[in-house]
Amino acid sequence: MRLLSKGPEETKDIGFRLGRFLKGGDVVALYGELGSGKTTMVKGIANALGIEEREIVSASFTMIVEYSTTPPLFHIDLYRIEKDAELDEIGLQNYIGGEGISVIEWAEKAGRELPEDAIWVELKSVSETMREIIIEGIDEKDWDNL
């Protein structure tokens, strides 16, 4: 499913719609270069779970930020991961597929840890403000019905 976002607000809206979809155990894998809007999308997703967007900031340093919503939201950012062994050190397996919703930025670094039924979201910069957002793992019919 291909969507076009004209700016951060639209990226957040798309995230919000995606967030309404999600339930405990779901994994969202976000792919995109620096500045493509991954964290902006997480703000939208979190908003759908009742978290104010201001509470969601970049998780690049902490790597895993937990929010005690119902179900819990795990904002995971693998930017600083260099080796597969580090995924063990941060305990990634404890989060994926558990009771919470895991949203993972720089998901390519999670490699084989990602479940097959993860929702894949790729954000591509088309221009300075426009992004092409490709979502796989959600039925287009279900998306339109939201």
Binding site: G35, S58, T62, I64, V65, E66
Partner: protein, 344 residues
């Protein structure tokens, strides 16, 4: 009164013994080469947070260098958040274990509160109230501090922390880690006015935002890579010696520092406070230190900046804040659990 501080909230394993909340008797951080020479192994890379391996040697060293016995401690202060939960657990479990076995009181300290108290360590600290600007890889926030335990957040970053922006820009430029040190050095040889990067002032609030600036630098770097008429072939990696890279570093740094200094100045005027304390890894940045002091001199505000070793993560600041927790009877139970998300 001696307090042992422990911090394992992020990358570094830290332990420190501080007397009366101000005098550092020992200050050990796991990335220090002396620790590694003594206990073997190489200096861990950024992503290897071997807290479980380092906690014992680091605490042991802190106690040895301080020339004290555990029985001499009035309390142990441990950082219980915010941070990576697996890392926090190491410090917290270790602290609980010592406290239980030696019957020493345990106090908990929020990592941000530790940063606020780092200004009391080296030298004379500010009187209350003061503004505390915490700028690091993981945090960029501004607090009004009216007393111990009386912190009001005035603003924080809405996306990237300033230190994180430095690291990501450094990566975009093909430079090393930590980005702050590299960019600070290169910026000295660059022209800060060469590129007019955006200054995200967000005048309607005391919040910060650096992700737009990071994206602007990325676009500039992409332009550079595409630009054949600058004499670079597109396949040539950016040479860190080229003056243009220095200009990008200097211009980026100018934008970050402008925003941090200007917003602090606005907060000073709005809150009518005459004292500002800086802390967090980015406060080791030479340009930020210089410009903050200039601002302070210009408008009659005292600027308190700790020494470089106290700007980055350390346990001395945890012990300093812990001293106050202990004195106010704020003792933690041994059933304490760390929290990954812990607003101050």
């Amino acid at each position: 009164m001696l307090i042992l501080g422990i911090d394992t909230s992020c990358d570094d394993t830290c332990a420190s013994v501080v007397e009366d909340g101000v005098r550092i008797i020992s200050n050990i951080v796991s990335n220090q080469t002396e620790i590694h020479k003594k206990y073997g192994g190489i200096v861990p890379e950024l992503a290897s947070r071997r807290h479980i391996e380092m906690i014992w040697p680091v605490v042991d060293e802190a106690v040895k260098v301080a020339v004290i016995k555990p029985e001499d401690l009035s309390a142990i202060a441990v950082c219980h958040g915010p941070g990576l939960i697996g890392s926090l657990l190491v410090g917290c479990s270790f602290a609980k274990a010592i406290c239980y076995s030696k019957n020493i009181p345990l106090v908990t300290v929020n990592h941000l509160e530790g940063h606020i108290f780092s200004c009391f360590l080296d030298e004379r600290g500010p009187e209350f109230p003061f503004l505390s600007l915490i700028v690091s890889g993981g945090h960029t926030c501004l607090y009004r501090v009216d007393g111990f335990g009386r912190y009001r957040e005035l603003g924080r970053t809405r996306d990237d922390a300033a230190g994180e922006a430095y690291d990501k820009v450094s990566k975009l430029l093909g430079l090393g880690y930590p980005g702050g040190t590299v960019i600070d050095k290169l910026a000295h040889n660059g022209n800060p006015d060469a590129i007019d990067f955006p200054r995200p002032y967000l005048p309607e609030s005391f919040d910060f935002s650096f992700s737009g600036l990071k994206t602007a630098v990325k676009l500039e770097v992409e332009k550079l890579r595409r630009c054949e008429d600058r004499g670079f072939s597109t396949s040539q990696p950016l040479n860190f010696l080229t003056s243009y890279v220095c200009d990008i570093a200097a211009s980026f740094q100018a934008s970050v520092v402008d925003v941090l200094v200007r917003k602090t100045e606005w907060a000073v005027k709005k809150e009518r406070i005459k004292r500002v304390a800086l802390s967090g890894g980015v406060s080791a940045n030479s340009e930020l230190r210089k410009r903050m002091k200039e601002m302070g001199d210009a408008i009659g505000v005292e600027i308190f900046i700790p020494s470089v070793s106290l700007c980055t993560d350390n346990a001395a600041m945890i012990a300093a804040a812990g001293y106050h927790h202990f004195n106010t009877g704020n003792i933690a139970g041994l059933d304490l659990n760390p929290q990954a998300y812990l607003p101050l």
